[in-house]
Symmetry: C2
Subunit: 168 residues, 2 copies
């Protein structure tokens, strides 16, 4: 049902009913928060919903603007705090190379993540490739390095955008 599978990264998922993605994400969030004794307040829920409006990474100040439109001009700390909470819950990830945020399609499962970021359409697809994890872990521990967090962001073109003529 989820439009964003992790085993096989997808882009422009064929005419999918995106509302379903949003609802599924919110439902997962309810579960995750309940399990962890955290409160999914209206604000947090609303921000998560805004993050999930697309499969592109969203900037904090765009969220800010979207919130401002509706509930009396939110301020930066509000958004950043909310994003921090959502990240703690594993509900969103930060894409460092974009200074932006993306919803996590499987917050319920412990996983490492790698991101495919299309420079054409802007869509971001999360994957969790064991082969990459293994290579990274081997390389790190082989150097005596104690790995705590891996940032893997792969820029390029998704299949659809790569097929376009004027890619240059």
């Amino acid at each position: 049902m989820s439009a964003q599978k992790v085993d096989r990264p997808t882009f422009h998922e064929g005419g999918h009913e995106h509302q379903g993605c949003i609802e599924a994400a919110l439902a997962r969030a309810e579960v995750v928060c309940r399990e962890r004794g955290a409160r999914l307040t209206p604000l947090r829920r609303r921000v998560l919903e805004l993050v999930w409006r697309s499969h592109r990474a969203v900037k904090a100040y765009d969220l800010l603007a979207a919130l401002g439109d509706e509930e009396g001009a939110a301020k930066p700390p509000t958004v950043y705090r909310t994003l921090e909470f959502l990240m703690d819950m594993g509900l969103v990830h930060r894409i460092d190379s974009l200074n932006a945020f993306i919803g996590c399609p499987q917050p319920d499962r412990r996983h490492s993540a790698q991101f495919l970021i299309c420079g054409g359409c802007g869509e971001v697809s999360e994957m969790s490739a064991a082969s990459i994890d293994r290579a990274v872990a081997d390389q790190a521990t082989g150097s005596g390095f104690a790995l705590s967090r891996q940032i893997i962001e792969l820029h390029g073109k998704c299949p659809q955008c790569a097929a376009l003529p004027q890619s240059s």
Copy 2:
């Protein structure tokens, strides 16, 4: 002679004479620029030297401050332009997760890079692991994704810092 080998990432390279790292980096830069018909101006040379003052990633505004101390208050665009040039030449890399820059130990060789970033001492070690490249490339192309740039930044503790007691 280079204090920063790529095949085997290193940290706190045993009491090394760091001046040698700097000089080697500048010498490599001369070669790279000459080969590519680019001008390693005094400013560019000076910025590269400042980047190489340590094996930690350096922030743009720290460079700005260092330059300001000496040659009449440089302005942000000056530093960013210079860094962009150095990146184009492959002489420095940007570490996105730190908003900071690090000298490249082998600008003369085409290579992909992965970075080990120690949260203890702040040192950054570049490596170029074929196994990681392979895993990433396989995964990307397997999804029909046309990879153009990979960002791999691994945070953790270097062997020396991991061995300290209060790591927590």
